[in-house]
């Protein structure tokens, strides 16, 4: 059986995932993965031109025609459930109608560059993408219970339409869905370098351990798609 070929496209967040992938884990070889990325400021310029992903600052291999990939994973500026929850709460407090509050969530998703690229790739290849939310700043004060968190996840999925939303694993958060510091210490930037020397963290990027959790969540999702459950570690 042919090994599915994946394209991970994202902002500097993908550095942690790429580092985790390079370190390897049992079962990773059930997929072949290429990484394409640009830091957050440059990510809006990332485009698909003549069938190739262009304007990236980092790629892990030679640029291939996007039609040669079996699945696309976009991990960049799709707002997190925490961010959407906060914006919706602010709209409610401002006296906005429920229609406006719902539109806030939909617009936040659809105005993201992650969604733009997912739509572009779908138009070119016919394949819907998997999208991962932006990291939550590890010092966030936003608190959400499980019910609310799931509710916002469902809103994100609805806004994404054909595309699949891959939530961060529960293990990355505490009881109130605030990020746990152990996945941020020693944060990794786009090309694999540490954000801060001496294993400090920049509050924005995850480390390899966090990257591994995200990668596993994505691959578990794809296992169902490609019927590869038996090969998973």
């Amino acid at each position: 059986m042919t090994i599915p070929k994946l394209c991970v496209l994202g902002s500097s967040y993908i550095g942690a995932v790429f580092s985790a992938y390079k370190m390897g884990a049992p079962g990773d070889d059930r997929y072949e993965i290429d990484f394409y990325g640009h830091s957050n400021g440059g990510f809006p310029k990332v485009d698909v031109i003549d069938g190739h992903i262009r304007n990236v600052r980092f790629r892990s291999s030679a640029s291939l025609d996007v039609r040669s990939y079996d699945a696309f994973i976009v991990y960049a500026d799709l707002p997190s459930p925490q961010d959407i929850h906060k914006a919706m709460a602010m709209a409610v407090n401002a006296g906005c109608s429920l229609q406006v509050v719902a539109r806030v969530a939909t617009d936040m998703v659809r105005e993201s560059n992650a969604y733009r690229l997912a739509e572009l790739l779908k138009a070119l290849t016919g394949k819907a993408a998997l999208l991962v939310s932006a990291n939550v700043v590890s010092t966030t004060t936003i608190k959400m219970d499980d019910a609310r968190f799931k509710n916002v996840q469902a809103i994100i999925q609805q806004a994404l339409g054909d595309h699949d939303y891959v939530p961060f694993p529960r293990v990355l958060f505490d009881d109130l869905h605030r990020p746990l510091g152990e996945f941020y210490r020693g944060s990794v930037l786009l090309t694999g370098e540490k954000a801060v020397e001496n294993a400090g963290h920049d509050y924005h990027h995850m480390n390899e351990k966090g990257g591994r959790e995200v990668l596993d969540a994505v691959l578990r999702h794809l296992d169902l798609k490609f019927d590869l459950q038996s090969q998973a570690a």
């Binding site: 109608s97 509050v101 539109r103 969530a105």
Partner: protein, 356 residues
Amino acid sequence: MNNPYVGLEDRAFWKLAVASRSLFDLTDLWKPKFDLKTSDQFVTFGSCFAQHIGRALAARGFAWFNGEPAPRGLSASSAKTFNYNVFSARTGNIYTTSILAQWVGWAAGVLSLPEESWETDGRFYDPFRPAVEPDGFDSVEEMQVSRAVAVAAFKTCIEKADYFVFTLGLTESWRNIETGYEYPMCPGTVAGVFDERTHAFDNHTVMDVLTNLETAMDQMKVLNPNLRFILTVSPVPLTATKSGGHVMVATMESKSVLRAVAGQLSRQRPDVDYFPSYEIINSPVTKAVFFEPNQRDVNPRGVDFVMDNFFSAVSAQPTSAKPVKPKPASGAEPVASAADDVVCEEELLQAFGGAA
């Protein structure tokens, strides 16, 4: 021979100021009464044309105050759909001076907020802002909360502003006979159900318009004694008239009434100035070049021309801060855009033209 016309500026003489010039060389059409600064807070309300003024002020670096901004996360397109960032609060179009007085009365606490709502197919519409939520509200309560927020934002605009820029649009209006409240749109057009036993047509006279505008201004001055007013008359003709007359004749009558009141107040009150949007677009000198082919919508060149006159007059003031040129950066709102980019409830009346 000495007489009062000797020594007047060129702008006082038709031959020198108009006949001997190209349309685009007309200058000095307006001399601002106030020393307008980019740091002054401007709020804009009124008919459809007022939207251009708010946008242009913001694009030229003036402090356009938005008392009810779109919530964070709402896209520019959705914000427009839901009537955010159109006027300085989410009032919808305020076409008449009587509706302005009504809004001011609500803001000042002089009038109580009406309880009326319009229901269509299980959705609820605000009779006083029928188009702000295109699909209506989920419930009467939601609509009332939203209206209260808009009234509070309108009050904040009055309190915070240095200049209240108001575009007078119409004299024709519809009123609830029982409550006395006036609607911006006739019930049964955008939403609601028309009932001739409850809903009455008014065509405001010069005295009505004057009284309502002065009442509104005086109440605003109670909230903000330093507030000053810039009035202008919308050059956009009526979409439809219920006056019984021809719509073109009714338009001229309405605009003449509004123009007369604006001019009179500008001469009488030191806190009122008049900017001639109406004349710039509608004068025979312009030969209707600033209208779209339907002879009603002002085209983008016309909007630009009006606003260029506004800002060139402001920048000619010796002590004023200079407005900046609008930046056509990607994603930025243009200074003037096509007529279909304007949120205008009255245009919905167009749909009834030719109806059986």
